[in-house]
């Protein structure tokens, strides 16, 4: 290394130093501010055309069903304004019949206010079974980004059906009514688990996490850099965490009562590296997503409670916070060799479980069971009782599972 070499590297960027913004750049920015999704829409026109075709098809099916008198639970089809856009873009969705409903007032019940109207709604919610029969999983056996969304038998891991094949699928969550929300190509897609029908598409959202009662969808807005929650019934969307300074939220987790959202704060460099540094720092930030106000209620308790260098938050049944700790880098992912349980009230660590190469967690609806993805040469799924007990390998699960939820 010589100073000549340094000079050469400096001079190498002269082309960039001479580059100039294309004409009309500011006007295009103003267009973006008026319509933040416009460029993405332009790039995704084929998908939007397909979505439009699906909308027409769904509407036709609904019309036929209505003409035939429907059933006990006819599908409702509606098109609503995209709450993130001011240009009249629409998100079309179908409301699936819930498996069971309750009118008991729960945290999912909301009072929503829109200009000119005040509407009080009590959302029907669904309580999930403790340990469902199936698991939704993202499989990427080659690690090349082209993955599949499959449904697994939760006892054996056997693939029961493939819902999405050969697409960019990154993350998945399952709502109490069974609807699957998965991340694909910078959007979150709602999917009927039985028919594979796309129910709704939410643009520029990532890391979907449905609240325990199924009323809210938390996600990361990758354009605005915020964590937001979407009330699924009203389609109202509010930010609950502002720009994280360029950091990227990773996994999200709701507490059992829906009052706390834990957010994995992925440091500036999650992308794979050459092993020439420590793994990205991940913290668990806790927010209080009060559904009744518009305030951004961020409570950064990561330092106060010492929950640092931790990933994959999940809330077991006892209300503690379970995180993966002892992190290291394994290929594309940060993995941990330990699961720590924290008491949020006292800030005390309750205990730990040694488990190697864990990358992601999801708790069952009753919080009694936890599933985890494990990295390594053969990424797979394991399941463990949340309190104590041995890990169970799902021996018939396919290779390359990178995310799982139930």
């Amino acid at each position: 290394m010589t100073s000549d070499f340094d000079d050469e590297l400096r001079a190498h960027f002269d082309v960039a130093r001479d580059a100039d913004l294309p004409a009309g750049s500011f006007d295009r920015l103003v267009d973006r501010l008026d319509a933040p999704l416009a460029p993405l829409r332009a790039r995704r026109m084929p998908k939007l055309l397909a979505l439009a075709a699906a909308i027409v098809l769904i509407a036709g099916v609904a019309a036929v069903a209505a003409a035939q008198g429907g059933g006990d639970h006819p599908q409702s089809v509606h098109s609503v304004d995209d709450p993130t856009s001011t240009t009249g873009a629409t998100t079309t969705s179908t409301t699936r019949p819930h498996h069971t409903t309750t009118t008991e007032r729960v945290p999912g019940s909301t009072t929503t206010t829109t200009p000119g109207t005040t509407t009080s709604t009590t959302e029907p919610t669904v309580e999930r079974d403790g340990r469902p029969d199936t698991i939704a999983a993202v499989v990427d056996p080659d690690g090349d980004g082209a993955g599949s969304l499959v449904v697994l038998d939760s006892s054996t891991g056997k693939v029961l059906r493939t819902l999405v094949a050969d697409q960019v699928v990154d993350d998945v969550d399952v709502a109490p009514d069974g609807t699957i929300y998965y991340e694909s190509d910078r959007s979150v897609v709602a999917l009927d688990p039985d028919s594979g029908e796309q129910l709704a598409t939410y643009p520029h959202m990532r890391s979907p996490e449905v609240s325990p009662h199924g009323s809210q969808l938390a996600s990361f807005d990758h354009v605005l850099g915020t964590v937001s929650r979407l009330e699924l019934a009203s389609r109202q969307r509010k930010n609950i965490l502002g720009d994280m300074g360029g950091n990227v939220p990773g996994q999200l987790a709701w507490s059992r009562d829906g009052g706390i959202l834990a957010i994995e704060d992925v440091g500036p460099f999650e992308s794979p590296d050459q092993g020439d540094g420590p793994p990205s720092l991940r913290r668990v930030i806790l927010t209080d997503p009060n559904p009744y106000d518009d305030q951004i209620d961020m409570i950064d308790e990561s330092f106060a409670h010492g929950i640092d260098d931790a990933a994959s938050p999940v809330f077991p049944a006892d209300g503690s916070l379970l995180v993966v700790s002892d992190l290291s880098q394994d290929g594309r992912h940060v993995v941990g060799d330990r699961m720590d349980a924290w008491d949020l009230a006292s800030g005390q660590k309750l205990g730990e479980v040694s488990v190697s190469d864990v990358s992601g967690l999801d708790a069952s609806a009753d919080g009694q069971w936890v599933i985890a993805t494990r990295e390594g040469k053969r990424p797979h799924v394991v399941m463990t009782p949340a309190a104590a007990g041995d890990l169970q390998d799902l021996s018939r699960a396919p290779e390359g599972i990178i995310a799982a939820a139930w």
Partner: protein, 168 residues
Amino acid sequence: MIADVGDETGLDRLREVYERHARDLFRLGFALTGDRDLAEDLVHDAFVRLHRAPTEPSAEAMRAYLRRIVVNLVRDHHRRQVVAGRSRPEGEDAPSAEAVADAADRSAAVDAAIAALSHRQRICIVLHYFEGLTDAEIADAIGISVGSVKTHLHRARATLARRLEGLR
């Protein structure tokens, strides 16, 4: 929110900040990605974030704030490209060696060698040699320690020197 573009005053304020910083951000984005269209998109994304930010950074902090957003947007874009299989996963240096060897001229060889660095090393190189930032400023821009910046720069320079040695 920096300005409400719905009124003329807000629009003028936004234009003022844009005219002051956008060109430099565009050049940084271009240096990091080599893609002019993507660089402009990154600049716009950065200003969308600025526009939506609850508080406006001070004039002194504005440049560093916007730079950090652009750097992290590049990081996010890179991650998505890797996940989508549209970019070479880092750590695989075979393509770079061939690209360097096949490069028609020295500048193309340097391009190829820089492109073959790890994402983190590449950003450190760009911020150091293009932006002229100090190690501490780089550390602040990308959120790692000064020691890590030194390590990345040292390794990046050594890697570049090794890969370009035969062409000197």
